[in-house]
């Protein structure tokens, strides 16, 4: 985000390492990434050497058929999962630093601060209302004391985001009381809450009708226009993919165009 401060109270060694990297390097890189899942006694290769770069401020769509490995690639980019063990597993780099080299704690921090996830099925917590779901990522990113100290500011940001997504009147509502589109907007607000460097969206409109999906993408596009947000979006829909600056096509675990 353009207005993001150079340092934050939760800055870790990761930031220092990042500042040492070349400013012209891609923000996010997947280098010959391989990922194999084991189903019973059978090894199922999902990614077979996928490589791609994402530049800062870029909107990249990863397009592919079901089972092509696009969600897996997104999870790897977001540090939710790790590529196959070296040698041969490939590497994910964020601002020049390999995620594999990060400690577990640093990887948690990476997910809290650097990336924001949006899922096809929203994944809101049913017990929490709209405001609380939005604040969830901020709560995970702050200690209890730090959260209490910044509570007013964080709530104001959540209200601002939810207002921008047209949910100002639904703050106390539970997910069960919202439509699919509204739920996805809450999920986007949650993903943006900590001002991440990269928004990772996994089929964000896959569970919505075309009109609602388009409206959400319009709002994301407008936000990107305002803030220059970097976005990596997985989709199987060519039309949705056309919204992006660039499309990376994935077939059988390999990037065939991008």
């Amino acid at each position: 985000m353009s207005d993001r401060p150079a340092t934050t109270p939760t800055e870790t060694g990761l930031h220092a390492a990042q500042r040492r990297t070349d400013a012209d390097a891609p923000m996010l890189r997947a280098i010959d990434v391989r990922k194999t899942y084991r189903l019973g006694r059978v090894n199922v290769p999902v990614l077979r050497g996928a490589s791609m770069d994402v530049q800062r401020g870029e909107w990249v769509a990863i397009l592919g058929a079901s089972g092509s490995g696009k969600s897996t690639l997104l999870h790897l980019l977001g540090g939710l999962d790790r590529p196959d063990a070296p040698p041969g597993g490939g590497e994910i780099r964020f601002e020049g630093t390999g995620l594999r080299d990060m400690s577990r704690r640093a990887l948690d921090q990476y997910r809290r601060r650097r990336v924001g996830f949006i899922f096809q099925f929203y994944h809101l917590l049913p017990e929490l209302n709209v405001m609380e779901n939005t604040l969830l990522s901020a709560m995970a990113a702050h200690s209890m004391g730090a959260y209490a100290a910044n509570r007013g500011g964080l709530r104001a940001r959540a209200e601002s985001l939810l207002g921008a997504f047209g949910l100002a009147e639904r703050l106390r509502h539970r997910p069960a009381e919202l439509s699919g589109g509204e739920r996805q907007r809450v999920a986007i607000a949650r993903a943006l809450m900590n001002e991440p460097d990269v928004l990772l969206a996994d089929e964000p409109t896959g569970n919505l009708d075309r009109k609602t999906g388009d409206a959400i993408l319009d709002r994301v596009a407008a936000l990107r226009g305002e803030t220059g947000q970097t976005i990596v979006m997985v989709t199987h829909d060519e039309e949705v993919a056309r919204r992006a600056d660039r499309v990376v096509r994935l077939e059988d675990g390999v990037v065939v165009r991008g």
Binding site: T72, R112, F117, L125, E127, L136, S143
Partner: protein, 506 residues
Amino acid sequence: MYQTLLIRRYLTSRIMPLLAALAVLLCTAMVLIVWSVMGGFLNMLLASGRTMMGDVLISWPVVGMAHYQELIDDLEADPLVLAATPIVESPGLLATPDGSIAMVQVIGIDGRGYDRVTGYSDAVWWRNLEKPMPRDTDGDDPRLHADFTGVFEDALRMSGRDPRTGEDAPAMVLGVEVSQLNQRVPGGWYEPRYLQLRTDSATLSVLPISARGVAIDVQARSFPIVNQFRTGIYEVDARTVLVRLDALQEMLGMAAATRVRVPGSADADPLGLGVTLDERGEPVFAQPEIVGASPARVTTVLVRAQDGVSAQRLRDRTAEIYRDFAQRHGRAVPSPDSIPILTWEQRPSIAAFIGAVKKETGLVLFIFGFISMTSVFLVLAIFWSMVSEKTKDIGVLRAVGAGRAGVAWLYLGYGLAIGVVGATLGGLLALVVVHNINPIHDWMGSTLGLVVWDPSVYYFFEIPNRVEPSKAIMVMCAGVLFSVAGALLPAIKAAHMDPVKALRFE
């Protein structure tokens, strides 16, 4: 931070955790109720050991010890001693006005002295109630209606008007459960059935034993019944009869007496009968010659400590005083090395019984504590199922940056919260149940015919109904600990969940 919010939400929006809290609640309440009743029973036993006994006993049964008043004076001169009093104990046979005959423990007492050492006046039953309780005024306790000032005073004097002669005579005070003179009503008081105080008398028979342990003649005597006493210990109230000390001493041959010798030569009086023949062959009866006096004896001296003086300290001091006393009297009193000087707890019959009850209490607590550990497994099962149900939420939390430790803390904190809620409510439930356990028991008896607490078995008329705060805190802490222990494995499972698999969980 998110842990606090989610724990609060999970607690108020789901049934499963309430079931876990219920398990902790029931286990906490169960252990605390059992411990309070059993521990209270033990405490009552310990307290009852002092009933009618004081803190320290100097006891020389059967034959009794002489010069006891001098010993009592020595004891009461000591700053550790509040008071001391003599008693005589003997088995006896009692024929009561309702026609029944019962074996009883007879205790000869000096009413006022005995009261100073044992608080006997508090146990006197037929007296006007100074502060009637609601259950007294709500019911029809006879003590509310009549004037019992006279019979209360008689109980302290241990004297009353003999119904046959009309003269003041040594009297008897019976345990309130002796024979069937009264009927105990559920409200907790007694309705006289065959008893008319000051009018009825009972016949007591005792068997004097010589210094050599040989039974002499059975002695029987009728005493006016002036009052009754109730200690709350069934065994005491059903088997004990109090009579005036000097009367029992007389019956048992322990009263002060003059020692005499019949003069005469062995030739003139070969049989030693004090009878000789004069010159005409007529019998001549010799006048006995007084050669000394046998002091009165008692079987036991009871001693009460000043406030703040332990029974053991008093016992040690009493032993020192007795040693000095015995040195002055030589062989006229039992040797200090052979006479038992015991605290009330050390009395063999009590020590054995209390030891048994202590062990039984420990065993019952162990069993119930072990059973309560089922709450660990209940919480574990419920949390395990909840973690499975909440798999996707765990994936979401990991996706927004929650670490493994954070997720583990979420479930441990949840277990802690459930433990605190369950243990607190369990503690409150136990408090309410224990506090009202006697009315509950009475209700069960009157409505369901279920009487669990039989005074003839458990010694006391009332079920102990106090919860000790220290016990409550310990049991509640254990309840919380069990709940956290039950949450531990599910918390570890949640922490080690693969976030990608968790997000794909259906």
